[in-house]
């Protein structure tokens, strides 16, 4: 079953035509990776899903319903959570308060058990629970941003460059967790990455975004083997 269907989506930032007719499908229970260079429109696509900014044309259907006219908070409440680019944790709140914000729209009864789950996934958060989030290291902030998104029990998890700026140890940890969430909890994940190597390996399917358009599509292994992908996104990593 298709959880998310994006068809013919165009987005403008002022005069910049950022997305030029993107088509993309995410099925229930799979990890889809979107790779592309800086400025290809990856983050714009993520934000367009939430209507910030609103798409100029096209359709976004989530669980069979057109959500492209809704406001960001309504879309979020349907069960989509985003780990945004740059993490965007609330720096002057404690770790606990950040997690409470993630669960702001969830029933109170979920909070205790969900918090325990997050401590199991990210033990560092329990140690830092009452510390201000702005004082955490970059990697810890990334863990917090992921945990905050999971606190909402989303049906679809969007991750925007979760490995950006992290130490190699944390990068491996982030991709392990992404795999784990999908395998053990059946979570559907749309992952945007420049780090194509890790991202394609963990994904069921991958797409390449170039100048606001999807130019290639295939399963993770196919894309990893594709000479054009290797030249553009992998060789540079080595």
């Amino acid at each position: 079953m298709n959880m998310l269907e994006i068809s013919g989506v165009h987005t403008h930032y002022g005069h910049v035509h950022a997305l030029k007719g993107v088509d993309l499908v995410v099925r229930s229970g799979e990890i889809v990776t979107l790779i592309g260079a800086n400025g290809a429109g990856k983050s714009t696509l993520m934000m367009t899903l939430f209507g910030v900014p609103h798409l100029s044309s096209g359709r976004i259907v989530f669980e069979g319903e057109d959500i492209s006219g809704l406001k960001a908070h309504q879309i979020s409440r349907r069960g989509i959570a985003l780990v945004p680019e740059g993490r965007r944790i609330f720096p002057r709140m404690t770790v606990l308060e950040n997690l409470q914000m993630g669960a702001a729209m969830s029933p109170a009864a979920h909070f205790g058990p969900d918090l325990e789950r997050m401590f199991a996934l990210f033990p560092v958060l329990e140690e830092r629970l009452l510390q201000r989030a702005g004082t955490l290291s970059g990697g810890e902030q990334q863990m917090l941003a992921i945990a905050r998104a999971l606190m909402a029990r989303p049906k679809l998890l969007l991750l925007d460059e979760p490995s950006l700026g992290l130490a190699p140890l944390y990068i491996r940890r982030v991709f392990d967790i992404i795999g784990e969430l999908n395998r053990d909890h059946g979570m559907t994940i749309l992952l945007v990455e420049q780090n194509a190597h890790h991202a394609l390996r963990v994904a069921h399917r991958g797409l390449v975004l170039q100048q606001g358009k999807v130019v290639l599509e295939g399963n993770g292994q196919e894309l990893l083997a594709n000479p054009a992908v290797r030249a553009a996104y992998l060789e540079a990593d080595q």
């Binding site: 908070h73 609330f90 720096p91 970059g138 902030q141 909402a152």
Partner: protein, 304 residues
């Protein structure tokens, strides 16, 4: 010595009122980054609602002072909150997403509108009510100076302290307070977490107006005279208090209010009553020049 204590009492009373109004400036600035210049006039409107309400209750023959005070507080807070909500809804929300200057100018327009509305409907003359809370305690007399603590002063300071405590709890401990702070720190991210940001902003305006309404009732009780122009002076002093404390900082607004109240009382007593406003605004200028972040509003160094 006796006279110093007397000025301390007067200053704290005045400062409580400035502090209550200053919170409205600082909260609105914190969440949408604008100075709501109509806030002082919201306070003025609340004083008129309070006077009307006191007059109606007197006509209805309610003579119990505590009962009358409670009814007036409840009615004034309710009506003024609706005013605060409507001002945001009509004058600021349509401008969200335009330049930063647009809502600022709109708020000046709203300020002029409210003053004229009250002037037209209530008349330009001073309105007064008979003293509601009379009497007080003579603390002591020294060197021929009698230190007097009026009951109305005790009530003003007590109500303010209680309200600040409730308000601090609301912002730091409740889920609404958390959402409010989240909107201050990253409005887009709050939206992405399912927070209805427009609703949070509306509630912020209503809370600011409610606190100003309490200040309006207290001032009516304390001075007994109001006119359509009181919002300007009190508003700009409360704004000074918010800047002095550090705009955006809630404890700062409370502290700034007290400091401004004290400075005004002491200046008026020992230097010149005519020039007390000069003292306040000199402080505004000095703060803006030498400590633009105010007493408590220091810029955060954050990892990005």
């Amino acid at each position: 010595m006796a006279s110093i204590i007397q000025q301390l009492i007067n200053g704290l009373t005045l400062g409580s009122i400035y502090g209550l109004i200053a919170i409205g400036y600082t909260m609105v600035y914190g969440i949408i980054g604008m100075i709501n210049f109509a806030h002082g006039d919201i306070y003025m409107v609340s004083a008129f609602i309070a006077v009307t309400c006191f007059t109606l209750l007197a006509a209805a023959g309610i003579s119990s002072v505590p009962l009358a005070l409670l009814i007036v507080l409840a009615v004034t807070v309710a009506f003024t909150s609706v005013f605060g909500w409507s001002v945001e809804r009509t004058a600021y929300r349509p401008l969200r997403g335009s330049t930063r200057l647009a809502p600022l100018i709109s708020s000046i327009g709203m300020s002029i509108f409210l003053q004229n509305m009250v002037q037209v409907t209530q008349g330009a003359r001073v309105k007064s009510i008979p003293p509601i809370i009379t009497g007080g305690i003579d603390l002591f007399t020294r060197d021929g100076f009698n230190v007097h603590l009026a009951y109305s002063q005790i009530i003003i300071v007590m109500v303010t302290v209680a309200l600040m405590a409730v308000f601090t709890w609301l912002i730091t401990q409740t889920s609404f307070g958390r959402q409010q702070r989240a909107c201050e720190q990253d409005r887009t991210m709050a939206m992405l977490l399912g927070i209805d940001v427009d609703r949070t902003i509306s509630l912020t305006f209503m809370i600011g107006a409610a606190l100003a309404a309490v200040a309006g009732v207290l001032v009516t009780v304390y001075y007994g005279v109001i006119d359509f122009y009181i919002g300007f002076g009190a508003g700009i002093k409360a704004f000074t208090a918010a800047v002095l404390g550090g705009i955006g900082s809630l404890p700062g607004a409370m502290l700034g209010g007290l400091v401004i109240g004290l400075i005004e009382a002491f200046w008026a007593a020992y230097l010149s009553a005519e020039y007390k406003d000069v003292a306040t605004f000199s402080i505004l200028i000095l703060v803006l020049m030498f400590r633009p972040n105010g007493l408590l509003g220091r810029p955060e160094v954050e990892k990005v």
